[in-house]
């Protein structure tokens, strides 16, 4: 369980998060949607403890950061380190004995090659593999489907379902509504640094229609495509 109370961040006069409130329970998958720059990544970084904030983030886990696996939008890899060594490093960090990496390599990654030379999707899959091997209780997945091939998208969706059945708390951001529809129990809509709406699964189709109407409007006509 994670409870977010009055969390705010601003850089100078630029307010990124403004008195955010939310409650995330065990065994549930939460989607966070919002336009680019709406504060999704900053919100995730606050929960993961990578960003200073005002307000309170409480959890049954203490310290919370020791139980969180954060999949970053663009995972950074130290140069000249292979995929296998990255997994070893991430497991070392959590005192987890590395066993049988190859059988866990369900994405078929070239683990003996330098991680920095991987494609965008491969980097994401490697970083995901690492946080799964760390056996975290809370998983924050910042755009896990972005840049990943269709086969891996299917696998990631199934992994999320499995994690949910293992009573983990999962937070996902995605710009592809269908992926959220397939995985989430609730979706929070982030706008101007605040959660403006919380939508339950039964209302996802309404939210999607609302997003389409709001986003598209008459913008296509404005293009005057010929």
């Amino acid at each position: 369980m994670i409870s977010i109370e009055n969390v705010s961040i601003s850089f100078g006069s630029n307010i990124i998060l403004n008195n955010v409130h939310a409650h995330f329970s065990k065994g549930k998958v939460y989607g966070i949607v919002g336009e680019n720059g709406s504060g999704k990544t900053t919100f995730f970084r606050c929960i993961a403890g990578l960003q200073a904030y005002s307000g309170h983030i409480n959890s049954e886990f203490n310290p919370l950061k020791n139980h969180i696996g954060l999949l970053q939008t663009e995972p950074y890899f130290f140069s000249k380190i292979t995929g296998r060594e990255y997994l070893q490093l991430m497991c070392n960090a959590r005192n987890i004995r590395v066993t049988d990496i190859d059988s866990k390599n369900i994405f078929g990654l070239p683990l003996n090659e330098y991680a920095a030379t991987y494609s965008t999707g491969m980097k994401k899959k490697l970083a995901l593999m690492a946080i799964l091997m760390q056996e975290n209780e809370i998983l924050i997945l910042d755009e896990p489907f972005n840049g990943v091939d269709i086969h891996s998208n299917i696998l990631i969706t199934q992994i999320i379902h499995q994690l949910k059945s293992l009573n983990k708390t999962i937070l996902i951001s995605s710009h592809i509504f269908s992926t959220l529809n397939a995985t989430c129990d609730e979706i929070y809509l982030l706008d101007n640094g605040t959660f403006v709406k919380k939508v339950l699964k039964a209302e996802f189709s309404l939210l999607e229609q609302e997003l389409i109407n709001f986003t598209v409007g008459n913008k296509i006509e404005q293009l005057k495509l010929k």
Binding site: N66, Q72, Y76, F78, E85, N95, Y114, T117
Partner: protein, 295 residues
């Protein structure tokens, strides 16, 4: 770009541009004073600087921005600009042949781009604790190889001092492995307090540095038994400097190490007793900085 790097380093631009030419000339004069091979070393150093511009990604970007003729003019201009101070100095020293070779090399490398993402994976003994050493070893293995060769030469030509220089160089290379600053993510992920984190970093560095330095130290010890105490002293000092460099790195975290830390580090290297003050200073500052990520 250089101005930004200077600013990040904590050096005011005006001071840097005033100070750099005399520093450059002083170091050049010192090199020429110290060795008869200076012009060759000097040419090699200058030519190696142009290698920074040969990366494929960078050149692909430049090619996409400029017409092919302009692209080669930009590359040539960059290379000449970088080697120009070296060229002028070589000409002043009347090393015309070396200056000519340098100019030819700078011109030739303007037409070359290397793929810097080698697929070949160099095996290392550091796979159980992969981080700075595994990455640094793979980047610096040619330099390490040179150090071992110098150690062998020192033994063959009965020059103990040269052997100590090689041992020191290996330690300096180990320290250089800690130049690359990781993101907060790589610190935050550890289940450790700041004190435990630093302790683990130093302990890992100590045994991994020992793996690299012990072969040279043992070889020197076997060949120069009367100097075993000096070898031991340099071995211990190397480890102390390595630990100091780690504390210095995290004393600025997550920012890269800046001028004040470098000055203190160099002061400690030049006058070892200062380490009694410098190490606790860096250590306490590191604990403070790491506390933001490991609390």
């Amino acid at each position: 770009m250089l101005n930004r790097q200077l600013a990040d380093f904590g050096l005011p631009r005006a001071i840097a541009w005033i100070a750099l030419p005399p520093i450059f000339v002083s170091l050049s004069l010192y090199l020429f004073y110290k060795t008869a091979f200076a012009q060759y070393i000097y040419t090699l150093i200058a030519a190696s600087l142009t290698a920074n511009f040969t990366g494929t990604d960078r050149n692909d970007f430049l090619r996409s921005c400029f017409k092919i003729g302009d692209y080669y003019r930009v590359r040539l201009g960059e290379n000449i600009l970088v080697v120009l101070p070296f060229l002028i100095f070589l000409i002043c020293k009347n090393c015309i042949a070396s200056a000519g070779i340098l100019l030819a090399l700078a011109t030739a490398t303007a037409f070359i781009s290397f793929k810097n993402k080698l697929r070949f994976i160099i095996p290392t003994p550091f796979y159980k604790k992969p981080f700075e050493f595994i990455s640094g070893f793979r980047k610096m293995w040619p330099a390490l190889l040179c150090c071992y060769l110098v150690t062998i030469i020192a033994i063959v030509v009965h020059n103990f001092n040269l052997g100590v220089v090689a041992l020191t160089a290996i330690f300096l290379l180990c320290i250089s492995f800690y130049q690359e600053m990781e993101t907060g993510f790589y610190v935050r992920v550890f289940l450790l307090t700041p004190h435990q984190f630093l302790k683990q970093k130093i302990a890992t560095a100590a045994w991994q540095a020992s793996l690299l330095t012990l072969p040279a130290a043992i070889a020197l010890g076997i060949c120069y038994p009367p100097h075993i105490n000096i070898i031991g002293l340099f071995f211990c000092l190397g480890h102390i400097y390595l630990a100091t460099a780690i504390c210095a790195k995290y004393s600025a975290f997550p920012q890269p190490i800046a001028l004040p830390q470098v000055i203190l580090l160099v002061a400690g290297i030049l006058f070892a007793p200062l380490l009694i003050l410098i190490i606790p200073y860096f250590y306490i500052r590191s604990l403070k900085k790491l506390n933001n990520f490991l609390r």
